[in-house]
Symmetry: C2
Subunit: 516 residues, 2 copies
């Protein structure tokens, strides 16, 4: 047999074992990789376990265990009264590797093998960039910026005063849930979410937003982003036009672009998104808007504009995704009715979140859907993820039912208002090129214009040098926006993330550094 001559080539010398780790597993892996890369050819006779143990200076038991595993997995086979051989494996096993030396073993499988022993045991480097198509390519072109790291500091955007969250209450409710779980709740659940939570959310929206919704219209999501992404994946086909506010919430734009949409950035004026520009486009299937507090400019969409937008959706059978990301925060005047409360034709999908009332990493949000879309969204969610994690939903339901939620909203609104006032009253004066501060009737951030892109960058870099975080308004614009670069410049500041004392200190540092 040819295999007998080949068996002479087995050389355990290349096998190096680390005595601090499991020896039999290391040996198993070393032998396996040699079979797979051709150094141990099919038909090669392996040394008796006693001999290999002696050669490697390990216990015979370790060798036997390694052989057993290789045997169980089919890498080696025993021949009665003859010993142990590398199994005959399909010839297709090694096609993609470049072998430095090839010899024909002449075995019936026609396996090619190599006697070279200097190849690496490690997989080849796979991290080099490959060229992707379709969905992979769209993701590469439309991905979110890395979120800022480190603990929250002034003036991080997108986080509420979550230092005030009643973690002690939350910890107790969590422990109570887990100590006596209902086993039924731990099986696969309703993809639309916890029924009790859905009912409580619907009641909350009816009383706080004037929405006439029922629990059946609610689909629980893992945060607002998942709500937006679900809308993108279900309502947008490749090459559909999607209208987004410009400047706007880029993460939403990315979700639509990843679904294959052609994005159209629509201007925002003092009444909100420009519906004339939207109507002139002609080919939009969907418009994504933030009417209660435009992100990031802070404009509240006027009633006239809301009705115009609804009329557009009715006329074109288009969809409106209404992101009410910070609707809980309104400091003066009554909040306007959401589009979803004005919608009579089932064209509005309302995106809500607990992230701006509790904290972002909770990843709990919801969609309020037109009845005709509920089944499809719920089914899609089942295929995507089955349902959201169960305890977060159950604990939030209890948190709401016990009145903690309403109390917390009031506390958060007061805190945000106080922090807003701290920012407004301590804002550095007399810096050339910075516009006047807006009045900030709502939300958790404010936007202030600056006169040039160069100034925007300089102010933000100076702020960063004294550990103050400010976002560039220019980063909220689509890259191909028509507007001149200098008119896109501005500063976006979140005022809720840290307590008043920290805000005052940060403003002091800003004042000094900006005046130098």
């Amino acid at each position: 047999m040819t295999s007998e001559s080949l068996s002479l080539s087995f050389n355990p010398a290349g096998i190096e074992l680390d005595r601090r780790q499991g020896l039999s597993r290391q040996l198993y892996q070393a032998l396996r990789v040699r079979v797979l890369d051709g150094r141990l050819a099919s038909g090669t006779r392996l040394p008796a376990s006693r001999d290999l143990a002696a050669a490697l200076a390990i216990s015979r038991n370790s060798v036997v265990r390694a052989y057993d595993q290789l045997y169980a997995e089919g890498f080696i086979e025993g021949r009665v009264g003859d010993g142990t051989y590398v199994a005959q494996l399909p010839q297709a096993m090694l096609p993609a590797k470049k072998l430095s030396t090839k010899i024909s073993t002449g075995l019936s499988t026609g396996l090619s093998t190599s006697l070279s022993t200097n190849r690496l045991d490690l997989p080849v480097d796979l991290s080099s960039k490959v060229i992707h198509r379709g969905a992979l390519q769209r993701v590469e072109r439309n991905h979110l910026a890395t979120p800022p790291s480190g603990p929250p500091r002034a003036f991080r955007v997108g986080v509420p005063a979550f230092d005030l969250f009643p973690f002690e209450v939350w910890a107790k409710l969590n422990a109570a849930f887990w100590r006596k779980p209902d086993l039924q709740q731990l099986c696969y659940g309703d993809p639309a979410g916890d029924q009790r939570l859905r009912g409580l959310i619907a009641a909350y929206l009816r009383s706080s937003r004037g929405m006439q919704c029922t629990a059946e219209q609610i689909v629980i999501t893992s945060g607002a982003q998942q709500g937006i992404s679900l809308c993108a994946q279900l309502l947008v086909e490749p090459d559909d036009g999607v209208a987004i506010e410009n400047p706007g919430y880029r993460a939403a734009g990315h979700a639509f672009a990843v679904a294959g949409a052609r994005l159209h950035g629509i201007a925002v004026d003092s009444e909100g998104i420009d519906c004339t520009e939207l109507a002139e486009l002609g080919d939009c299937r969907l418009a994504y808007v933030t009417p209660s507090h435009q992100y990031p400019t802070g404009v509240v969409m006027s009633l006239a504009r809301r009705l115009e937008l609804l009329a557009w959706a009715e006329r074109t059978q288009g969809w409106i995704v209404e992101d009410d990301y910070d609707g809980e925060y309104r400091y003066s005047g009554a909040p306007l009715a959401p589009l979803a409360a004005l919608d009579r034709q089932g064209r509005v999908l309302y995106v809500g979140t607990f992230g701006k009332v509790a904290f972002p990493a909770l990843r709990l949000g919801y969609l309020v859907l037109p009845p005709a879309l509920v089944d499809a969204f719920s089914q899609r969610r089942a295929v995507d993820v089955r349902h959201s994690e169960v305890s977060t939903q159950a604990v939030m339901a209890e948190f709401m039912a016990a009145g903690h939620f309403q109390r917390h909203i009031r506390r958060m609104r007061r805190a945000a208002l106080s922090r807003r006032n701290t920012l407004l009253s301590g804002w550095p004066q007399g810096i050339p090129g910075i516009g006047s501060l807006p009045s900030v009737a709502a939300g958790l951030h404010l936007t202030v214009a600056v006169e040039s892109a160069a100034l925007e960058q300089a102010l933000i870099e100076k702020a960063a040098s004294v550990d103050v975080e400010i976002n560039a308004l220019s980063s909220y614009w689509l890259p191909d926006s028509q507007k001149p670069e200098d008119q896109r410049a501005g500063l976006v500041l979140g005022f809720a993330a840290v307590p008043e004392g920290d805000i005052i200190e940060a403003l002091g540092r800003l004042d000094r550094i900006w005046h130098t």
Copy 2:
């Protein structure tokens, strides 16, 4: 003014208020809906608050609050020294409604309005089925069956012995996390997941599965289904061919179909998926397989077949999604190396889950990705959902680091083995047409053939009549499978879901009912 003559038509008689609810809100809503549906035309003068309060027999304060809200939202406007009027709203507001009677108001907005008062305040019925296209349509055609409701019972498939989960420990770890949260952890996190958890999972897979993976290759998901769905959304373009095992895990097939794949069901023989059939198809971009314990047949994919499948992927630049859904459960012999451990060309995406070790509703799983795909998956996850809920990840990391996880796996394996043995030893004998039981070396369920589709249905219905849950093997086949219906019949039984005593009782009931 024309509006003055119209103001005569305002009739509060149709407004009915429920005195148990907030009166001003009800009035606000009643007036708003009348503005929106044209019963209260633009320019209509509203009664003084005192008069309306008297007409409705409510407090003047309630009317004032309702008017204030309508004013804030722009529905009504005040004219100095003159009273309150319905605002002039864009003419586009009512385009989609059919008005029973139209009169021209002659106002400059040209609003059409109606004097009919018998229309409903409620939105029109939107729940009637509409015809969807694209993604919505694919979801309707490819959705998961509703999961069985009620507490787990014999012989529910897909759930482990989670009555043995150490809920007390889990409750404590949860409470500990929430009592002293790291605020930084509660901001937006790494879309790939908690760094500590990823490291612990990689170490676990290296020692338990022989995979040479690092933490950087791990992306945390909300359960295995999300892992599969992510693969579908990132690797499959509309009309790509995708190979799935037939019979197989239908929820995976749905995820690929929803992404636009053409599904090819490939036969499974005693060595696993038929790679010859796969190779002959020629147009598959991706193959989804369950090599460690084929779902639902229980076949373990042979090494030869594993290598053949890898060779297919290398040759065609195809992807393999390896779902190791119950790899922790192996009762005899050593587990075979996963495809991901044999893969040298970065073609295998490994799907893991905690759902079969802890419980399904935890929704915690992971992908082990070829290095070249990690960025794209992580970025896609950020766009889809930003990241998974933070506490579940942190608590699981602590659960693993403290040794609870390994102890629990051993406990779960022992329990599953004991429950398997209870099922095997108590299985009803002498029922005509049922094949012999398999040996069940792995997993949490077993499959037994029956001789006809009619018998399958009869056995399952009888079982259900005595509160015993059995799945039909026929439901795991693609609808258009070539195989004759009778050869697709069988029973699929999960043996881990309930304790031994419940299994014995259920078997007793089965024995009686099946012999009648």
